[in-house]
Structure formats: C-alpha cells, structure tokens
Amino acid sequence: MGDKRTTVDDAVADLRDGMTIGIGGWGSRRKPMSVVRAILRSPVKDLTVVSYGGPDVGLLCAAGKVRRVVFGFVTLDSIPFDPHFGRARETASVEVTEYDEGMFLLALQAATQRLPFLPTRAGLGSDVPRLSPQLRTVTSPYADGEELLAVPAQPLDVAFVHLNRADQRGNAQYLGPDPYADDLFCLAAEKRFVSTEQVVSTSELTELGPVQSLVVNRSMVDGVIESPGGAHFTTAAPDYGRDEMFQKHYVDSAKDPDAWPSFVDRFLSGDEAAYQREVRAFSGVAA
C-alpha cells in the first residue's frame, strides 16, 4: 500500500526540457496552480503544454517555459483573454497546435485507449487542418463512405491535475459541479501527479461525496501533493471560488510590462507558502 505523498517541488524536479505536459482543469477553473508556480521556480524549459488553457498557460508563457501550446482556447472565463498568452502569440514566441475543444478531448481519449487516432466531424471545413497540416482525414469503410478528420492521439510525458480530496495512495475526488477531463489527462500520461486541497483517509472519500466523484483511482497516479489553496486564483468549488480580485490584479499586472516585475517579486519569487501568505495579505489589504 504505497504512500505516494510528495511535494510540488519534488514533482516538478522530474520534468526535463522539451517534455510534453498535460495540465488539467478548464480555463480559470480548478487548475493545478501551485504546480505551475513550482514550474516557474524550476529551470525547466521548452515544454509542450497541453491544456484547456487558462492562467496556467499565461504564466508559463510569461516565464519562457513554453515552446508549444496545444489548446482549444485560452481564457480566464470572467476575463476573456490572458494577456501573457496574447503577447506570446503576438510576438510569435510560442508555437501552437490549435484544436477544436472536442478534437482536444478526442486526442486525449485516443491516447488513453492506445489508439493512433479517433475520427470526428469537428474541424472539417475550418482552418484547424490548414493550420496543422500534419492532420489527416480517414474514410469510413462502411456504406456511408464519410471522410472524417483523424485526430491523432496526444500522449503526455507528465500530467498534473488538482482535485478537491485524495488519499495518500492516489485515489482522488472532485466535489464541485464538473470533473473536466482530469481523469483523461492522467490516463494519457506516463507520469501522473494529483495535487489536492487535502489528503484524507480512503474511507473519508466516500463520506465526502458520492462514489461517482472518485474520477481518479490509484492506478492513474504516481504522486500526491497536498496543496491547500493549490488552485488559487482559479476556482476549486466547493472549497473556494475564483479569486476575482486577484485575477484582475494578475491581468492588470500582466498587461503592463512595467508592472509585471513587481507582481513576480511579490507573488512568484518565493515558495508556495510565501505565495499563500502574500495572497492573504493582498486580500486583507484590498478588502
């Protein structure tokens, strides 16, 4: 019965330059932000980041960690655009593979099922195939003869997801309204890390929520990181909602190249405990 507990910094220490990493959550919702902050502190670079993108993508781009982004969108939800991702695109400092949201899901599903591709209608007729000329179509062998897009599997070297609760073996649970695709990120990856608001005993998991909320099981996880507030400033409902005031501060700072260094100095230059301390101070001052 393995104890898989580890720390964000130890988890990130496994990363190597050029790896493909998957980041769970969706937009500015239940993102493994403490892991992202640990990556910012690490020397790793040239990552391919596979994400339903939010501030995870923005922060990693701003820190020069990213070579390519595989995405269907990058948004902060209550604020439409992430300024760092915008700047990275507008200066062509990152490459992109831009998918339809449903294609993105199929790419993960193909990887989880160990299939080379899955067919879909989504993407046909759009600029997605023009912008990713490696994409191919596949023709149905049946009477309909339909020619569909063949979405290639998107395997991951490492996946990071943030869930509300986990036990030390890696059984993990979401307690909010939406599981997103976190289980698929884990299944598509060689190495899998779950950060969680709280590590609890296995028996507590089914006391906290219905058994259907246990979307990740221990065979899908290599490391468990206890990280209270680890999704901040994105939502981790029902533990906490999005910190809208802080997200706005992030965006205002990110928009202004002169303001960004002081944001980095204050929030991103120490460890996770220092971050959480500064966030509490920020909320206290701003409230």
Binding site: E90, E101, G102, M103, L105, G125, S126
Partner: protein, 244 residues
C-alpha cells in the same frame, strides 16, 4: 409601443431564432443571446433546455433538471446534434465563416483572441446562429482571418461529412436579422430593425448585402416586454449591450 428600444427588439429577434427547435439544448453565449433564449422558453418555446452556464441544466424556475459538464457537452451533446448554439463573432464573412481565434496572420497574429474554441465542432454538427451587438465593417469582412465557425463555401469544399449537419441559421445584429439564403448561400437581410434602412446596413458591412426582401423586425409584445424589463434584465443592462 413607441418606447420599445433597439435592445428589446434585438432580444425578441434572438428569441425567434429558437422557434420550432423543440426539446433541444439552447446554448446562448453572452447576455443578449441568454435573454433571448430565456424569453423564448418563457413564451413560445417551453421545451427548450438551458444550462446555468456551468454544469447544470436548469428549468425556468432555476430548478436543476440535469447534469451537463463540459466533457458531456463535447463528447455527446454537440456530436449528437440536438443543440442550437448562438455564438459571438469577431469576424463573419459573406458565406457565414466566423472567426473568434485571432486577427491577422495566425502564425503571428496582431491580436490573439480566444482560439477556435468549440466553433468548428458546433458548426458541422448542429444549428448555429450568431449575435453581433455592433454591426460594422470590422466584423462583417470579405474574408475572415481564421475560419473557426465553418461557412457554407468551406463546408461544401470539405465534402459531405462537413455538410451533412451543417446549418448556419441566422445572424442577429443591432441592425437586423440575416440569413444565408442568397445566391451561393450569400448573407442577405431577412428583416431590418425599425428605424434601420438598407443604406445603414450597406455602410456597416464589408460586402454587398441584399436587403430587397427584408421585412421590418417585429416588436416584442406586451408580455415579452414585461419579461425583458421586469424578469430577465431588471437592471437595464441591455441598453449598454446594444447601441441604439
């Protein structure tokens, strides 16, 4: 009803998009589309299903009637096709191609927008309409920079699999209601809002639009106005969404 505002006309026009849709998921993106869908459900389209914008389907009283997390939306609801989305658009061209991805050359855009999001899948799987609050030559362009939502010409080029369920239904703007019923599926005016003339449309559109057959958009009725003013938007945000 001389006090009916342009915003109220537009909301009723969006509601009319859902006429005869039956028991499907309406997915309105943004304030005016949401008010329109709710107005339709409260009046002539009671079977419409609406999400709370998160993971729940909620009925008219806000009671949760179903679960619709993002993944179910993508792997079941969109491909299954019993859905009508009303998306926004940074650009739309004459044949109904839409862009929400980026402005300029995709390799180095002058302005990064959202990305294509679900627009490619939506447009080849089920009925799609658009809402444009500020009808202008910046939005209605000769050719979009990135095809996110698929128009009629590109669906035809991509073949039968792309055309089979392709159905770009209407564009509602602050000036009128448009469809793609012109020659070769070109955009044409179905109705112009009261006070709008074809010259206004022509000046605000980057390609020719046939307005010859256009009616005048209907005014919302008394019950619809009550719902818009007292129930859906009691704070009067609609006049900020839609320029008069």
């Amino acid at each position: 009803m001389s006090d009916v505002t342009r915003a109220e006309v537009a909301i009723a026009a969006v509601a009319d998009l859902f006429r005869d849709d039956g028991e499907i998921v309406a997915s309105p993106m943004g304030a005016v589309p949401s008010w329109g869908a709710k107005l339709a459900r409260a009046t002539f389209a009671p079977d419409l299903m609406l999400s709370d914008g998160q993971a729940y389907l909620v009925d008219a009283d806000g009671v949760v009637e179903g679960w619709q997390p993002f993944r179910r939306m993508l792997d079941t609801i969109v491909p299954h096709g019993r859905r009508h989305v009303v998306m926004g658009a940074n650009q739309i061209d004459r044949y109904g191609n839409q862009n929400i991805s980026a402005i300029g050359d995709h390799a180095r855009p002058t302005k990064q927008l959202l990305g294509v999001r679900g627009a490619p899948g939506n447009t080849v799987n089920h009925r799609t309409s658009y809402w444009v609050p500020r009808h202008s030559t910046r939005v209605f362009v000769e050719a979009v920079d990135v095809v996110a939502g698929v128009g009629y010409d590109n669906a035809a080029k991509a073949g039968p699999a792309a055309q089979r369920h392709h159905d770009v239904h209407r564009v509602v703007t602050n000036l009128g209601v448009f469809d793609f019923g012109g020659p070769d599926h070109a955009m044409r005016a179905v109705a112009l809002h009261p006070g709008v003339d074809p010259g206004d449309v022509s000046a605000a559109t980057g390609f020719p639009v046939d307005c010859a057959g256009a009616d005048t958009t209907r005014l919302p009725g008394a019950e619809e106005l009550r719902l818009i003013r007292d129930v859906l938007d009691p704070d009067g945000l609609r006049d900020r969404e839609v320029p008069a």
